[in-house]
Symmetry: C2
Subunit: 345 residues, 2 copies
């Protein structure tokens, strides 16, 4: 009768954290819209888990709001002190703590270069909120485990609010339904046990996704590196086919993360087929019956449209990471070498 | 008395390929400048090795030409068929063959969205050159080995020509000196043998770099995945500290790639110290005596300024990959699962 880990508890807190975040931020869409009135594009500033959230935001804005949205290289600001004209740019910085100096400094740099600035952070009153024109503070509550879970999914929710505010052709009612769907997933049996068993002896793993699901694949790869010390390589579907598919083999499976619908799904099914044909194992998270049918093992994903699927797709990945970490004798709450606020500046 | 592999021959052809490429492209800087006259930013379109070259281009333009330069997500064009306003954007597509449909289609999409378009390719007359307003055709000659070597370094040279044409405060005379410096490196003893020996039993490896050297680190990680089937994780210095440093251990060394000078060097030295303190081994490529002193093994980098260092830093990485691949019983010219022109569309 072990106590549940903080990580496991925080995974379970996600429905409540998402409801509180949507309650707090949905009414503030107008502020973001006003701020971005003269902006033609978005530039994300982030590291680590927040960087994976930014990838989600970039797909949402580009696929659904018709706005160019790409990722900044913070060292251009912090190391090279470059000056450029960022008028017409909405700079969006993401940081769980709001205290990582490199991110604060890069957002201040963007502001000084003429950008409008918005912060998405769980750190109310943090230095990042002081620099930003508008701060979207997520309501995840205190996160004690070092691997981020609820601060990640609430960042995704904040990005969905932002995309809708900036004109994305997406139904806010569907976004409101996400906490219920994650609650439903968490209430059911944990389907990840077979994958945890199979991965106990894995030397490494490739985690792949395409389109909106790519962000969830990158985040799962990061979790597996952080909490399981696994050689986890997060790769887009296309990048994987462009070379490193050579790396999958009997001891190196692929986890393929996919929404149950959308234009990226056929390619994800084809990728699973190629992985299995190469003599490796393919584990599916989501992707519906089509992906499950060609995969070695599969867990169902959320019943959500493609643009919201990443919020639910990461949940089985979090459960899998937490269970595998314990199985490997690691404390998932405090992996080696990490602290909660990372300073890289 | 084995025949040298095609990959080893092509590594040796880089000085000549670079000279021919600079001869062909340097006179054409004015065309690129005219094309980009009304452009405020650059958007790179690429996959795989070409994506790593694009990272180099983005740092050059942002650190030295004061222009925002970021990477596109091709699936926004090819899967989501998004429409957006790209007026004022110079879209730069990189593809060794110029025949990868996904890249051709994405450059055509950028053009249709109002961008100016430039291609950098080794494929003269390829479909990519048909779509682009201006085509910079590199003069690498035929490349037979699947892992790209001379087509990568000539892409970097083309990007340096482009950055100078777009106003970067960089000395073209130093660029002209790169082929001689790579020739000098190749004429000396191969210093990578000790690292090849040490890596023969490695389960995985982290390859890290910061600033301009980050592109060379990403490219070395890709080479090690492609030709050695290694679990090679290419990570920026900051992203590595933000979590996955947990992954280094006695069986998982870090290769740290750094120029001999520049603002990124102190952080690279600090990273090597942290890797060694964590009980793992750190292998340095470049970084001068400061990085070598704190690393487990070290090979010297090129005698080039930081902005040109990636062209030379990748050379020991190529030699290391080719030798390790053979040591592991792999044919580096034809790794499993790969063909020369990858279609991902």
């Amino acid at each position: 009768m072990n106590e549940p880990t903080a990580m496991r508890s925080e995974i379970g807190q996600q429905p409540a954290a998402l409801r509180a975040t949507l309650d707090a931020l949905t009414p503030r869409g107008g502020e973001a819209a006003a701020l971005a009135r003269d902006c033609r594009q978005v530039l994300f500033i982030a590291r680590g888990t927040s960087d994976n959230a930014a990838v989600y935001g970039s797909y949402l804005l580009q696929a659904h709001a018709g706005m160019l949205a790409t990722l900044a290289s913070p060292s251009i600001a912090t190391e090279y002190h470059s000056r450029m004209d960022l008028s017409g740019v909405l700079a969006v910085a993401l940081s769980q703590s709001g205290a990582t100096e490199e991110i604060v400094e890069t957002l201040a740099w963007a502001r000084d270069c003429g950008a409008r600035t918005l912060a998405i952070t769980n750190g109310g009153g943090s230095p990042l909120t002081q620099v930003a024109d508008v701060a979207f503070v997520t309501a995840a509550g205190a996160e004690l485990a070092v691997p981020a879970t609820k601060t990640f999914t609430t960042q995704l929710a904040a990005l969905a609010v932002l995309a809708i505010a900036l004109g994305a052709d997406l139904d806010p009612g569907l976004l409101r339904g996400v906490p219920d769907e994650i609650e439903r997933m968490l209430a059911g049996p944990d389907d990840t046990a077979a994958i945890v068993d199979a991965m106990t002896g894995a030397a490494g793993v490739v985690v792949s996704g395409r389109g909106h699901a790519y962000a969830a694949a990158l985040e799962l790869a990061l979790k597996l590196k952080e909490a399981c010390y696994l050689h986890a390589m997060g790769l887009s579907w296309a990048d994987l086919l462009h070379g490193p598919i050579a790396v999958v083999d009997a001891a190196t499976p692929a986890i393929i993360v996919a929404a149950d619908s959308g234009p990226a799904l056929p390619g994800s099914i084809e990728l699973a087929r190629r992985v299995v044909a190469a003599g490796a194992r393919a584990y599916a998270i989501g992707g519906g019956p089509g992906l499950a049918a060609v995969s070695s093992l599969a867990v169902p994903g959320p019943q959500l449209p493609e643009w919201l699927a990443p919020l639910g797709l990461i949940v089985p990945g979090q459960l899998l990471t937490e269970a595998l970490s314990r199985r490997l004798g690691i404390d998932p709450d405090s992996p080696r070498g990490l602290s909660k606020v990372t300073q890289t500046a």
